[in-house]
Amino acid sequence: MSTLTSAANPSRGLRWDAWAIVLWIGAGLIMAAFLWVLLDLLGRGLGQISWSFITEAPENAGRAGGIGPILVSTLLILMVCLAIAVPLAVGVAVFLSELLPHRSRLRRIVQISLDALAAVPSVVFGLFGNAFFCIQLGLGFSILSGGLTLACMVLPLLIRTTESSIRAVPQRYRLAATALGMTRSRVILRLVVPLAVPGIVVGTLLALGRAMAETVALVFTSGYVDRMPGSLLDSGRSLSIHVFDLAMNVPGGDANAYGAGVVLIFALLVINGAVLCLAKTWKARSGMAITAAT
């Protein structure tokens, strides 16, 4: 993602012509459409934001009041998701990049199945989570079910980014550590994985953004309840579901839907900014590029 923009732009000595005009107009229209979406959202939503909106509980089905409990539920769902997915992804990535010979058939199979997993629509994850976590495991509509479902969903992305950051650790450090008498497993645990941490963090942030944007997989798993959750086994409404519900099911809920939408956008902007900053500082510090899959 970030490598794209850092590449020098070759202007390639081309002149203005009819095509240039078409392309400038086309590109301008694309940007205009996106800015329309963004500015509309900010224009209608920013006015709703206040301290009480962030902290108070929703009232009157969300038309009034704030989003306090919804923020808490969202955070809990994301924490469950990452707590499960990150360790799993690091383990798998270590296996794929360090322990398997890189032309092995097993590796190919794992990668194809992860590609397929990445392509599964989120509505199917929602059905799966509903059938398996909520009903078969008896977790019900709960934050736990929602977080687990999201963990399955972001796993391929996390594995891919972790694997590529482990691969970005230059081979000579592995050789140097081995030459100092470190065993292979210690080289991996003490040197390679720690050196890959910046990339893993960036991948985690990307996964966080993906999970936070998700709606439909949570509708069937963590549910709609907008009260403050008492435990991970309570149902909890995520921010994105709240936006959806206010817009679709609550007449007169638009204003607060926009307010919640702005909070969502703001969180994503922070994540996006953090990714850019971290990638830059870490690159400067260690001289290793942070590669993140799109």
């Binding site: 794209l4 202007s11 959202l41 199945s113 509505v123 691969r167 292979r184 994105s240 936006v243």
Partner: protein
């Protein structure tokens, strides 16, 4: 990479290899597991209703025992096709623009923004569609919530993905090839059409497949603007219901065979995904990709 080592005993690292290997197997079995869970839930409907009736029943009225999925399949296909028809050329325009026409700072800023828009939650695109776009379309032709609205919103949603992948593949066209064409007297425009786009076709195919996959799977934004009436639309201004919207709308109250029938429609979507993944493997043929290990 550590490979085939002639070393003995001490390099056999059991606990770590076994642990990480088990996790990898778990992760790669997940897709199969999801498939079997969904299949298991769908079995009841497949047994009771049978595949055939999903295609031949009068309509989709689960309460009166009618389970025709075709209107939803058509809806999904039409919405996704409409989105792709809009998004592919636009994505290509954006890619060519940032690579060949935009001055460097403009290109950088443009891509940053596109990356940002790639991350905007679908529900917010849906909100915009519902509040801004649908009333505009309703002025043209009621009711506003329609195939057109869904396609437009979806096009906007898949456009960033397509534009980013297309940019990457257009950028990877070797400069020499472009210079050679220019030296042969090709105009800039015909260099684009005859050299750049054909050279980047693999990446563009990947962009199209990933974009289409996203378009077919998208639920929330589409559901918010499509009108969700079960019918095969006769014009772009008529409401439609997609497979995924159908699931999201009905799962909350569906029971027994009805619930099971919704899992059947999820199977249809999984089948599509498997197809798309296979196509992707075929197009990219990753075996040919070198294993990069920078030093």
């Amino acid at each position: 990479m550590y490979l085939r080592s002639p070393a003995r005993a001490s390099t056999v690292l059991s606990p770590m290899l076994i642990g990480a290997g088990a996790l990898a197997l778990l992760a790669s079995a997940l897709i199969a597991f999801i498939f079997f869970v969904v299949l298991g839930e769908a079995m009841a409907a497949l047994g009771e209703i049978g595949l055939w009736r999903f295609l031949t029943d009068a309509s989709w009225h689960p309460s009166s025992g009618e389970f025709n999925l075709l209107p939803m399949v058509a809806g999904t296909g039409l919405v996704a096709a409409g989105a792709m028809v809009l998004a592919m050329p636009l994505g290509l325009i954006a890619a060519v623009f940032v690579t060949f026409y935009a001055p460097s700072p403009v290109a950088t800023a443009y891509l940053r923004l596109i990356e940002l828009f790639a991350g905007i939650p679908s529900v917010l695109y849906g909100l915009w569609g519902l509040v801004v776009l649908v009333p505009i379309i309703a002025d043209l032709a009621a009711p506003g919530s329609s195939l057109l609205a869904a396609s437009l919103v979806l096009a906007l949603m898949v456009l960033p993905t397509i534009a980013l992948i297309a940019t990457m593949s257009v950028r990877s066209v070797p400069l020499e090839r472009i210079q050679a064409a220019r030296a042969l007297g090709f105009t800039k425009a015909s260099t684009m059409v005859k050299i750049v786009i054909p050279s980047a076709r693999k990446g563009l195919a990947v962009a199209a497949i990933l974009g289409a996959g996203r378009a077919v799977g998208e639920t929330m934004a589409v559901m918010m603007v499509a009108g969700n009436i079960v019918q095969v639309p006769e014009s772009i201004f008529e409401p439609v219901r997609t497979l995924s919207a159908n699931i999201a709308l009905e799962i909350a109250y569906a029971m027994d065979v009805h619930r099971s029938a919704l899992f059947v429609s999820a199977l249809v979507m999984i089948a599509f995904v498997v197809l798309a993944t296979a196509l992707l493997e075929f197009v990219t043929n990753k075996q040919a990709m070198p294993d990069v290990h920078p030093d």
